[in-house]
């Protein structure tokens, strides 16, 4: 698997899958960004890469469909899989762990590393900002994402707009912060 440096978003998931699901991905680090990682797959230097579904849809769909198709999705991080032709029959990592009878620690590790994908591009304000202003900002974001013009532009760009509310993001952050210390220690070990 082509990857950016250790500890990066393209390195952590395969490393964690190896530790929890028993996959045997060999991660080759050092590629300069997503484009170089995709090129390495296209020219058959490596056999795979780890990326977001958003990236696949916007710049790499030709790798999964059409005459130049060279890839298929193996595992999706998280507990759910979107309804899309590319993802038909693809297991979600957390569900797969349950099916394989993996322990609580493995599941906790998978959840902790997936949290960053669930809150991609979070918007935050400094501590101490009054609650009424936080609420006003949250509602403004919700209104903006409901704007038909914005949704049309996103659709044209093949971008998935599925924002989470401020409350949902707070919950995910709290979940992440309450990750047991032994799980964090194991994560550190896995990605080093």
């Amino acid at each position: 698997m082509s990857s950016f440096g250790k500890g990066g978003p393209s390195h952590i998931p395969p490393a964690v899958f190896n530790a929890t699901l028993g996959t045997k991905f060999k991660v080759v680090t050092g590629y300069e960004g997503g484009a170089a990682q995709r090129l390495a797959v296209k020219n058959k230097e490596v056999q795979g890469f780890c990326t977001t579904f958003q990236t696949i849809m916007s710049v790499a769909a030709d790798m999964f469909e059409g005459p130049g198709a060279c890839c298929k999705v193996l595992i999706v991080a998280g507990s759910e899989v979107e309804n899309h032709p590319f993802l038909k029959g693809v297991p979600a990592a957390e569900k797969l762990a349950e099916k394989l009878g993996k322990g609580k620690d493995d599941l906790a590790l998978l959840r902790a590393t997936h949290a960053i994908n669930r809150i991609n591009l979070p918007q935050a304000v400094a501590p101490g900002v009054p609650q009424d202003r936080v609420q006003a900002l949250r509602r403004a974001f919700e209104k903006a994402f409901a704007d038909p013009e914005l949704r049309a532009a996103a659709e044209k760009m093949k971008m998935d707009l599925s924002p989470k509310t401020g409350e949902e993001v707070s919950r995910i952050v709290q979940e992440l912060l309450s990750t047991p210390k032994p799980v964090l220690a194991r994560l550190k070990e896995v990605i080093q």
């Binding site: 500890g7 050092g30 230097e45 490596v46 532009a153």
Partner: protein, 502 residues
């Protein structure tokens, strides 16, 4: 295909496409002249404006700007020794000494005309390469990128001028400085002294501006004269520079091909191709004595290579969605905004749009060169202005450029530090280009060396393209010495024959 080629040309002149291209050119002119504010930054600023445009209009706007930045970037390199763009740094080596000798007009004429020739060759290569682009680009993997880096290293000696040892040491220092930042494999901090601003390494723009511009400004201050030390009348004119491009057409064409090749290969930047082109111009010349002191061939080589890479760099972006540089990465963003999916299909289904892009690059460069030619003689007169009046403006340019590299005060400190290093190097007769080459090549070599070993072990050394490139690198290194030996031996033989006849 011919139909798409011609309709692509006609589409460029349609309203409002042409007007938007002119707007882009105007923006690119300013961006190119201002050091530090490179085309990636300017394009990122322009990106929001294209949401309301149709695809061709958007690309006219963006490519108009992109196509001319390298051309106008040469202007400040020649006039002031301040690289307007990273890809314009090699132009300084001979361009600025020419300006000092009162030949600014000639150097500018040569830079602009070679840029135009390079841009046209690169753009038409983009058009011609469409059928063969896939196997060509895909044949380059990490070992081949590593070999290209080593080829660059082979040019260190060529760029060292008369003091080869100092040049190689300066190159080594550049390689060491390139290690500053997070290492590409383990993401471990190296020589960052706890400064987050150094995680991305030493900013190339800040380093270049400091290394080249500050010593020139100090020199100007000490001399107390204008940049031009002598007047050479008509010889220094723009027209002579244009004629030089065609007198040395071989260099211009070969360096255009070098730029095109480096543009075509994703991951090898234009920052490298200009130095390889310069090295080639030096090495292919029979009389090398004027290089570094103001040889017009040293301007033609990088000038042609800079611009020829623009069209070629579009190929991996369009065909594979793999941008080869920061600027093409932003262009990829423009594709997405316009709802276009990069990939092999683009080369068949959107052929007319691709050819319009080719024509946009060509037409933008023709317009820029024509406009510049009108003002070049006036621009060249700047070199006769008293230094005391120029220095404040130059210092502003230098520190603006340095700051704009990463928008931080740390970048200013880097500029200043490299300025001091540059001053010492000039004073002690150490060549500066090898250090820049080391800085450019360091990340390329390190990254690809580790990946190559990880994937292929030592087998990477036996890959056919790697072997060919290494043979070329060895030829670059040793051919001049072999030629010298042969000449010396034949001279000795002749002497011996004459002596025996006597």
């Amino acid at each position: 295909m011919l139909e798409a080629f011609l309709s692509g040309l006609l589409d460029v002149f349609a309203y409002p496409t042409f007007l938007l291209m002119l707007l882009g050119i105007a923006a690119g002119f300013v961006v190119g002249i201002l050091p530090g504010i490179g085309s990636p930054g300017a394009m990122a600023i322009m990106l929001p404006f294209i949401f309301a445009m149709k695809p061709l209009e958007a690309f006219a706007f963006l490519l108009g700007m992109y196509a001319v930045t390298a051309t106008t970037g040469d202007i400040t390199s020649i006039l002031f020794g301040v690289p307007g763009e990273v890809v314009s740094a090699a132009t300084i080596i001979d361009g600025h000494p020419m300006a000092k000798h009162g030949e600014a007009g000639r150097a500018l004429g040569a830079a602009l005309m070679s840029s135009l020739v390079g841009a046209v060759i690169g753009a038409f290569t983009l058009a011609a390469a469409i059928p063969i682009v896939t196997p060509l680009v895909l044949s380059f993997k990490s070992p081949e990128f590593l070999a290209l880096g080593l080829l660059g290293i082979a040019f260190l000696a060529v760029l060292s001028g008369e003091s080869k040892l100092k040049g190689v040491l300066a190159g080594g220092m550049g390689l060491v400085l390139a290690m500053v930042g997070l290492d590409p494999q383990e993401n471990i901090e190296r020589y960052t002294f706890g400064l987050v601003g150094l995680w991305e390494g030493v900013g190339l723009v800040a380093a270049l501006v400091g290394l080249f511009a500050i010593p020139e400004i100090v020199d100007l201050w000490v001399k107390g004269t204008g940049i031009a030390e002598t007047q050479v009348g008509k010889l220094g004119g723009v027209w002579q520079g244009i004629k030089d491009t065609f007198i040395h057409l071989g260099i211009t064409l070969r360096c255009s091909m070098i730029g095109t090749f480096f543009g075509l290969v994703p991951g090898v930047s234009g920052a490298l191709s200009q130095w390889v082109a310069y090295g080639h111009a030096v090495q292919s010349a029979s009389d090398k004595s004027r290089f570094g002191k103001g040889d017009v061939r040293g301007v033609l080589g990088p000038g042609a290579a800079n611009n020829s890479g623009i069209g070629a760099a579009m190929i991996p972006t369009i065909a594979f969605g793999v941008p080869g540089s920061a600027t093409t990465a932003i262009l990829l963003g423009a594709f997405i905004i316009q709802g276009l999916q990069p990939g092999p299909k683009m080369l068949t289904e959107k052929l007319s749009l691709i050819f319009s892009m080719v024509w946009l690059i060509v037409v933008s460069n023709i317009i820029t060169v024509m406009v510049c030619l009108i003002f070049l003689n006036q621009l060249a007169k700047i070199t006769h202005i008293r230094g005391a009046l120029l220095i404040p403006a130059l210092l502003t340019l230098v520190f603006l450029g340095g700051y704009a590299d990463t928008n931080s005060y740390l970048a200013l400190a880097i500029t200043l530090s490299f300025g001091v290093v540059g001053l010492v190097m000039v004073h002690q007769g150490w060549p500066r280009p090898p250090m820049v080459l080391g800085l450019v090549l360091g990340p390329l070599i390190e990254r690809n060396l580790f990946i190559s070993y990880e994937v292929y072990r030592f087998g990477f050394l036996l890959r056919p393209i790697v072997v060919v490139i290494i043979v070329i690198a060895l030829a670059v290194l040793f051919l001049p010495n072999i030629q010298e030996m042969v000449i010396r031996r034949s001279a000795l033989k002749e002497k011996a024959v004459v002596a025996s006849e006597e």
